[in-house]
C-alpha cells in the first residue's frame, strides 16, 4: 500500500464546548474525528483530567483530532474554531503533517 500526505488538526479545549467544536468540524466537511479525555494547564486555570472527582465536570479538557487531506480545510477548521471560541474559552489548536494509507477515507 501507498502512503499519502494528509493533515491532522488538533484542538485541545474545554469539554463544555465539544459539541460546538464538533459541529464546526463536520460543517467544514471532515469525514471523522477522534475525542480523547485530557487535563492540562495553559493561560487559564489548571484543568484536572476527568478521573478525579470534579464538582463541575464539564470543565476538564478534551483533545480532538481531525485527519483531513486538504490543507485549506484544515486551516478553515482551525480558524473557525479559534474565532468562534478562543476569545472566551480556553483552548489551543495546531496542525501536524502526517501520512495515511487510504486517502479516500479522509
Amino acid at each position: 500500500m501507498q502512503l499519502h500526505p494528509a493533515e491532522k488538526v488538533v484542538v485541545i479545549t474545554e469539554k463544555l464546548i465539544v459539541k460546538g467544536v464538533v459541529e464546526i468540524i463536520e460543517a467544514a466537511g471532515a469525514k471523522g474525528y477522534t475525542i480523547i479525555a485530557a487535563g492540562g494547564k495553559g493561560s487559564h486555570a489548571f484543568r484536572a483530567t476527568s478521573e478525579r472527582a470534579a464538582v463541575v465536570d464539564d470543565f476538564s479538557d478534551v483533545k480532538i483530532e481531525v485527519v483531513v487531506n486538504d490543507k485549506s480545510m484544515a486551516e478553515a477548521i482551525m480558524t473557525k474554531i479559534t474565532e468562534t471560541y478562543f476569545t472566551d474559552y480556553s483552548g489551543i489548536t495546531y496542525i501536524e503533517y502526517i501520512e495515511v494509507l487510504r486517502p479516500s477515507k479522509f
Binding site: 463544555l16 486555570a45 478521573e51 464538582v55 463541575v56
Partner: protein, 335 residues
C-alpha cells in the same frame, strides 16, 4: 441573647455532626496534601443517587399534597431567585476592580441552588426531627432557573449596550432547556416524575434511603477538598468575591426566611419548610449552575464565580446558615 447562645451551641454541635465533619475533613486533608481521591465516576453516581432520592420522596408526597399550599412558596422562590441576582448585580456594579460579566455570573450562581447543600440540610432536619413538607425540595427549579436566566439576560444586555453587535438576542427558552437538561435538575425531575407516577416506595426504602446519608458524607468530603483546592483561584481574583461569598448566603437566607414566614402565616407553610426554603436561598449552585453560566456568559471568568462559590459560599451556607436558620426557627416558631 438566648438566640445567640442557642446558635453558638448549635454551631458547636454542628461541627460534631458527620455532615460538617466530612466537609471540614475534606478541607483539612486537602490542605495537608493528601493523595486521597474520590473517583469522578463515583462522585457523579453519588450526586445522581442523592437527587433521585430527593426527587422520589418529593414525588411520592406530592401525590397527596394540597397543590394550593405549594403555590405561594413556589412564587416566593421565583422572587427570591430574582432578587438575589438583582441585588448581587447591583452590588458588583459598584465595587471597584470587578469585571461586569464576572459580577453577573457570580450573582447568578448565588441566586441558583445547590443540591448538596439542600441534601445536607435535609439530613440535619431529619436528625433534629424537624418535619417539613416533602415537596419543599421541588422548589429548587423555581428559584434556580429564574436566577440563571436573569443573570445571563442582564450580562447580555450589558454587553450589547457596549458593543456594536446589536443583533444576537438572548435565547431565554434555550437557557431554560439547558438548565432542565443539566444532570442535577434532570435527576431531580426524573425522580419527581417517577415518585408521582410509578410506585417506587419499596426501592426507595431499600436502596435510595439507606445510601442517602452515607453518600452525602462522601459528597461533603469532595466538596471540602474542592473548597480548599479552589482557594488558589479565588486568591487570584478581587477579594470582593470572597466577602460577597461570605455574607451573601446569610443575607439571602434571611430574606427567604422572612418570605417563608409570610407563607407560614398565610398558607401554613411549616417551620421546617421555612428553614429548608431559607437554606435553598442561601445555597449557591455547584453542579449545574457553572456550565450553564459558562455557556451563557462566556466573557465571565469561571475562576471568579466558581472560586467564590466553592471555597467560601458553600462552606458558609452549610456550616453557618443551616444551624443559624434552625436556631432562628426555634426562636420564631418556638419549635
Amino acid at each position: 441573647m438566648e438566640f445567640l447562645l442557642d446558635f453558638l451551641a448549635r454551631l458547636v454541635t454542628q461541627f460534631q455532626t458527620p455532615t460538617l465533619g466530612f466537609l471540614i475533613g475534606g478541607m483539612v486533608i486537602a490542605a495537608l496534601g493528601s493523595n486521597l481521591k474520590i473517583p469522578n465516576a463515583v462522585y457523579q453516581f453519588i450526586v445522581f443517587v442523592l437527587l433521585m432520592r430527593i426527587g422520589l420522596h418529593g414525588g411520592i408526597e406530592i401525590r397527596e399534597a394540597d397543590f394550593t399550599a405549594m403555590l405561594l412558596p413556589a412564587l416566593f422562590s421565583v422572587v427570591v431567585g430574582v432578587v438575589i441576582v438583582l441585588l448581587g448585580s447591583f452590588l458588583f456594579s459598584f465595587l471597584p476592580g470587578i469585571n461586569r460579566a464576572d459580577g453577573y455570573a457570580t450573582a447568578g450562581l448565588f441566586g441558583a441552588v445547590s443540591a448538596s447543600t439542600l441534601a445536607a440540610a435535609m439530613v440535619l432536619l431529619e436528625e433534629e426531627s424537624i418535619v417539613f413538607e416533602a415537596w419543599v425540595p421541588a422548589l429548587y427549579p423555581f428559584m434556580d432557573i429564574p436566577a440563571l436566566i436573569l443573570a445571563i439576560v442582564l450580562a447580555n444586555m450589558h454587553q450589547h449596550k457596549h458593543s456594536e453587535d446589536k443583533h444576537s438576542k438572548v435565547d431565554v427558552w434555550g437557557i431554560v432547556k439547558e438548565s432542565l437538561r443539566g444532570s442535577a435538575l434532570s435527576a431531580l425531575l426524573l425522580g419527581l416524575a417517577l415518585g408521582l407516577l410509578a410506585r417506587p416506595d419499596s426501592v426507595l426504602e431499600s436502596f435510595y434511603d439507606p445510601l442517602f446519608r452515607g453518600f452525602l458524607t462522601v459528597l461533603l468530603l469532595v466538596m471540602g477538598m474542592e473548597a480548599y483546592e479552589r482557594l488558589s483561584e479565588l486568591r487570584r481574583v478581587a477579594h470582593w468575591y470572597a466577602i460577597y461569598a461570605f455574607f451573601g448566603p446569610i443575607v439571602h437566607g434571611l430574606m427567604a426566611f422572612g418570605l417563608g414566614y409570610v407563607a407560614h402565616v398565610l398558607v401554613g407553610f411549616s417551620p421546617g419548610g421555612v428553614i429548608l426554603f431559607a437554606v435553598i436561598a442561601a445555597s449557591n449552585s455547584d453542579i449545574s449552575g457553572p456550565p450553564t453560566l459558562r455557556a451563557g456568559i462566556p466573557k465571565a471568568s469561571p475562576s471568579a464565580y466558581i472560586g467564590a462559590s466553592t471555597s467560601v459560599g458553600t462552606p458558609v451556607s452549610i456550616a453557618v446558615c443551616i444551624p443559624l436558620f434552625i436556631a432562628l426557627a426555634e426562636v420564631v416558631f418556638d419549635v
